[in-house]
Subunit: 336 residues, 2 copies
DNA sequence: CCTGTTTCCGGGAACGTTCCCGGAAACGTT
DNA sequence: AACGTTTCCGGGAACGTTCCCGGAAACAGG
């Protein structure tokens, strides 16, 4: 069942059928109707591979995302998708596992689908210029971390929150309310991820408040998921060290922390406050509602796509924009 | 950057490069090395469109899923993906919005990517035989509902829980514990979805317990998401009708219900019990832990793929298997 | 040295589209 | 009536692969 079958059955050439398919004006109304009828009868659907092959797919941008298990990204992806469509481009999504090389994945995607641009969502982004050069097309990082600064800022763009600064703000929110012994729940102190950046912000906030960070109040999960965070929080509690608040480097961690605290009989926020960063949908429905710094995902998606489009269309403006979070006061923080 | 560039640079023909790419034995070791080196230097990646075009992609199965916003599916998708890979096939995922025609989406996917099989995840499945015939390839429905029975069972396969029966079981769990006034939170009573089937099970359980269903205790959300379910539960509470338990037709609804009840000052489970169906990961971390009937997603994915593979490989065995849920007792149900 | 076999490689058709180009009508204009 | 213009259509190259087929070496056995 090819375009030729349709052409034969409707008594026209393949070219004409193609024109009907891509509603090109150069086709008479009667012929168009006839062809459409045959197409409908045959349940014909054009072959995408052949299509992509010939038109070299210069109108689609790839999105590679690390950690689809992180619910924060679903909102971001939705936003990005919407913006890409609005810009008249197509989108192809590629999810990678936590261990994978995102740059390699991006390069593969770029060649294989002939993309015109690439968006990296999440993960760390510490690559040297010659590695990114292999991509050969414009790209932008969104909600990323580049803790090493290995890549000169001029060679690419980025959109994200200032993770360190926002984390500082979150923790300051706690110290401002009298909290001194603040535990932290994070992914890993040196995984080059946003979690690490947020941890730094945590340290800075403590420092500014004249508090010495207590290693016993730091708990790393080493894997990004709910069970790990939950177990981490249990270990923290089991350690017997006293603390009046916990800073969760992600909403998911916050929710898991809430659960562990509840099971340990520690009331939130009376006996222990909790604050997090992200603002995923589910955190609105935790009990109590999680107090968190919500990331403006729509704005992030929009800006990321806009900048990328500008670069694609020649106006070369690489940019590194920081967007601000919005503090959503739930019911998990109490002054002491 | 095509296969010909690689061929030219390494002094061989395109055929040879192709052989190296698909590690065909008919190539000497020295040539293979040379070619691989050039490939590496050029960062060459074969064009997938061209590849798919020629080998007609007879080794990939399509998965169309309605409602990716439903976290239940993420687990199911993961399971299906794993099994498909294990069977040596590739998978292509296609998400559709709630209003879309899944059969049309499936058909399009099938033609356009030349699939060998199709898996439909979620949604209703009420189509006539001539419509499904348009697909032209074997397919299976997983976690679906076919409330109308419009399609003869012999023409396709399915794997799911018996939604009506499991819902009956859930509600019976409540009536067995003395509950009489049981509210229900569902998507819509006649959307042909699993929610409707579960609603029927709810009615049956009440009937068996000699309880008259009270329309005032039924709340429909008409859209599948957390805010809608939350608002629904608020309306239910606001109605002022007394109830001692609520049956949520999905875990997400249960979590939203928990929140609404909490805000209304109704203690769970002391003043109101909650039971749901699905078993999504997040429901383990609600406070209290949601009591729910968890669907065996790994088993479902495995069976769905196995049956589909058998059909694809000729052994024609259409089957309709029901898998059983597993009651996970959390802390949201209390006898009265 | 001849012949048969194996190993390796290149040529070229095919996959299903799109799109440029050229041409044939049909229509208008002087 | 002759000539431009417009409208519509078909031919055919091109996209980047795979894979069959045929052939050239290299090698074996007699």
């Amino acid at each position: 069942m090819t375009i030729k079958d349709v052409a034969r059955l409707s008594g026209v050439s393949a070219s004409t059928v193609s024109r009907v398919l891509n509603n090109h004006p150069d086709v008479s109304e009667s012929v168009r109707e006839k062809v459409l009828q045959i197409i409908d009868e045959l349940h014909y659907v054009p072959n995408n591979s052949a299509r992509d092959l010939v038109r070299s797919g210069e109108d689609t941008v790839g999105v590679v995302v690390r950690g689809a298990e992180n619910p924060f990204f679903t909102g971001l992806i939705r936003s990005v998708e919407q913006e890409i469509e609005k810009a008249g481009y197509a989108m192809v999504l590629h999810q990678i596992k936590s261990g994978d090389d995102e740059l390699a994945a991006g390069a593969e995607l770029a060649r294989s689908k002939r993309l015109c641009g690439l968006i990296f969502l999440g993960g760390s982004f510490d690559y040297t210029a010659d590695r990114t050069a292999a991509l050969g097309i414009p790209f932008i990082c969104c909600s990323y971390s580049n803790s090493f600064g290995t890549l000169e800022k001029s060679s690419y763009s980025s959109v994200s929150i200032n993770d360190e600064e926002e984390a500082r703000r979150a923790v300051k929110y706690l110290t401002d309310r009298g909290h001194q012994k603040i535990a932290v729940l994070l992914d890993s102190v040196n995984d080059h991820s946003v979690s690490e950046l947020r941890y730094r912000g945590y340290c800075r906030a403590l420092e500014e408040a004249g508090i010495d960070p207590d290693p016993d109040l730091t708990e790393e999960t080493h894997v990004y998921d709910l069970p790990a965070a939950y177990e981490g929080m249990k270990r923290l509690i089991g350690r017997g060290k006293d603390f009046t608040a916990v800073f969760a480097t992600a909403d998911s961690f916050g929710i898991a922390a809430l659960k562990a605290l509840n099971e340990a009989g520690k009331k939130v926020p009376e006996e222990c406050s909790v604050i997090a960063i992200d603002g995923i949908e589910m955190s609105r429905y935790s009990i109590p509602t999680l107090t968190t710094l919500v990331q403006p995902v729509e704005e992030m998606g929009r800006k990321a796509v806009n900048i990328l489009m500008d670069v694609i269309e020649g106006k070369d403006r690489t940019a590194h924009v920081y967007v601000k979070t919005d503090l959503r006061e739930g019911g998990t923080v109490k002054a002491i």
